[in-house]
């Protein structure tokens, strides 16, 4: 974890310990917590990559917007269902955290029902996004209509692509939970999935701001 990264550099090499595996985390501890730590590191690195991809798309958005004259970039009338979708996504994150709290309190059945609800809300969000696309299509706004619509489709699709991965993770945990296979090792999967899901919330809010403020 990052804490040991800085620890290494600031405090130098740890004293030699001959106990081998595990025990403490001084500088390079491939101990018992390592697989959990690696999962979190992998997650945060993945989030960094996704952030970079969206940063690239944002910079393209800003540059393309800046280059456009009035009849090139035509602001899209975004379907109002996007706000409902936003509420659904935020709601799913909220319920997901209720679920984690229930697990912490040891209430497995509550965990299961909240987690299933959050998963359902995630799927509902995807359905809502598809509905938004359908409404745009009905209004004659396609990906090639103008750069504003192009970016809307690209950014929402890229977000949905991430979200499908998130839903798959949610379903995985849900299935494990319902089959009573949620041992301590799966706690990492729960935490990693939840953090990824919250990231997708933040990303979506950012996209909404981009669409409505800059689009």
């Amino acid at each position: 974890m990052p804490a040991s990264l800085t620890h290494d550099i600031l405090h130098g090499p740890p004293p030699p310990i001959d106990t081998g595996w595990g025990g403490g985390d001084d500088g390079g501890g491939a101990g018992r917590g390592a697989s959990r730590a690696a999962s979190f590191t992998g997650l945060f690195v993945l989030l960094a990559a996704s952030t970079m991809a969206f940063a690239a798309l944002t910079s393209a958005f800003v540059v393309r917007r800046g280059l456009s004259d009035m009849d090139d970039w035509v602001a899209v009338h975004y379907p109002p269902i996007l706000f409902l979708n936003t509420a659904i996504l935020l709601g799913s994150s909220f319920v997901l955290d209720l679920s984690r709290r229930a697990l912490k309190a040891g209430d497995r059945s509550k965990f299961n029902s909240y987690w299933s609800a959050a998963t359902a809300l995630g799927v509902l969000f995807l359905v809502g996004q598809a509905a938004a696309w359908y409404q745009l299509k009905q209004a004659g706004v396609f990906i090639s209509t103008n750069p504003a619509s192009s970016f809307f489709y690209v950014l929402t699709a890229a977000h949905a692509f991430h979200l499908i991965g998130g839903v798959a993770a949610l379903v995985y945990v849900d299935v494990q939970a319902l089959r009573l296979r949620l041992g301590p090792a799966k706690r990492t999967a729960i935490d990693v999935t939840a953090i990824f899901w919250h990231f997708l919330d933040g990303l979506w809010l950012y996209l909404m701001v981009l669409f409505y403020v800059w689009g």
Binding site: M1, G28, G42, S50, R64, A185
Partner: protein, 590 residues
Amino acid sequence: MSSPAHAAHHAPQSFVRKYLFSLDHKVIGIQYYLLGLFSVLIGVSLSLLMRFHMVNPNVSVAWLGKLWPTAAAGGVMTPELYLSLMTMHGTIMVFFVLTTVPQSGFGNYILPIQIGAEDMAFPVLNMMSFWTTFLALVVMVAAFFVQGGAPLSGWTAYPPLSGAGPLTGPGEGLGQTLWIVSIAIFCGASLMGAINFIATIVDLRCKGMSLMRMPLTCWTWLVTAILGLLGFAVLLAAGVLLILDRLAGTSFFLPGGMMINDHIIANHKGGSPLLWQHLFWFFGHPEVYIAILPGMGVASQLLSTFSRKPIFGYKAMVYAILSIGFLGFLVWGHHMFMSGMNPYSAMAFATLTMCIGVPSAIKTFNWIGTLWGGKIHFTTAMLFALGFVSLFVTGGVSGIFLGQPALDLYFHDTYFVVGHFHMIMGVAAIFGMFAGTFYWFPKMFGRMMNETLGKIHFYLTFIGVYCIFTPMHMVGIAGNPRRYADFTNVEYLAKLIPVHQFMTYAAYFTAAAQLIFLFNLVWSWTKGPKASANPWNCTTLEWTVPSPPPHDNFGGVHPVVYRGAYEYSVPGAPRDFIMQTEPLPVPSGD
């Protein structure tokens, strides 16, 4: 997310699980190495065809006509075919050789062992990463075989040429589409690999392996992974936009009012070709360091080992690697001085480019400092490491010229640039791979490579590459434009044709010399003398285990590290090297 290594996987028994869909980082590393070897054979063949055509533009070759019935009708290459060979040479070399072998090949094999881990952090992800790369290669090579053939737009795929479809040229239909799809798949594979490398280094180091005790190879693999992570994410995004411009009729990169081959292009407007260049080079410049950084790590490791001296300025080397990685993201504009950018921007990019000279010079200084006064063992691996330093300096110095906007305006579209990037990014990186091969071959395959053949191969290659690429700088200074299929009828270039002939012969000669390497590789793999666990008397962890290492690397033992990676010729020590795992008696040099 795949399960981390510590849900330890057992040694597989079946052929498919052991050699094809293996989770073992060592097998995956060798798979990447072989993929790179296959790719380099294609890439070199393409370059030989190009060199041939350049000095024999009108000579008919029967089998060329058979290979490309349309593009080389009558056995004479069309300019379009030449451009498609150039595109595929660049693409295959940059992505499937320079990006793949030093990082994914050697990194996969050696990194976990060097930091005392049983495997990479996510073995399943690792396997997926290799097979995704394989898929990308298949899609890329498929571009040769579709209607119109391979694309023409260079490895940088600048729009409008790469975006406007089949009207722009024979390979710009399905061939170009496959090219972009392949690159997008490759980006996905590289991202998976980068995640694995970073998580492994951050979390799976063994007891006592602090960051500042890691071999410099591990530092370069770490920084390369970070560059890949940030760079390929951007290229992926840009690639998606380019695909949409081609297939969905969007106008991200395609401007309006284009007239292509007598056709007015009416369905695009307002897009910016420069936007692609910015996004591409934001990836493209770090890509240069993705290719060269692991070579730097190998050179550092080998110069220290074979001089029997600690690396000079370990910490300075680490900080230089980090600052090269950081600065590498700030200089993409120096590839675009020709684009009409604001001179103030060009000035800023030029200044930042000069800044990269500082950590690069620190590294070179420290390499020479490491050699100074050492007991140098001129093994083949060491010779290639020294060759790396030579090529890095030669290629780096011409980079300083190109980093000046005023000079770049002249040099940019000449052979000077071709000479420059081949020296530093191509050949230097490949020398790093040769060095790594001769150094780690005993560990990877349990047998020694033949040193005599190795040295003959080194000297022929070293002389050969200088004979190919030094004259390129000269013809570039004389104004010889690059990317031209044929300039035999251009009056002011007529005097340069003998130089081109010389380069072509040098290319044949150098390529032929590689047969020695291939023979050595195959022969040593099957018949070479058995290697001991530590044939070079090295200090790092991979040399504490048998050659080749067991499935879990350390045979169930968990290594503990007590000292830095380069404790050679420590005064008072019984031998001239102290393994990282040796506990104290001699005061450590930390």
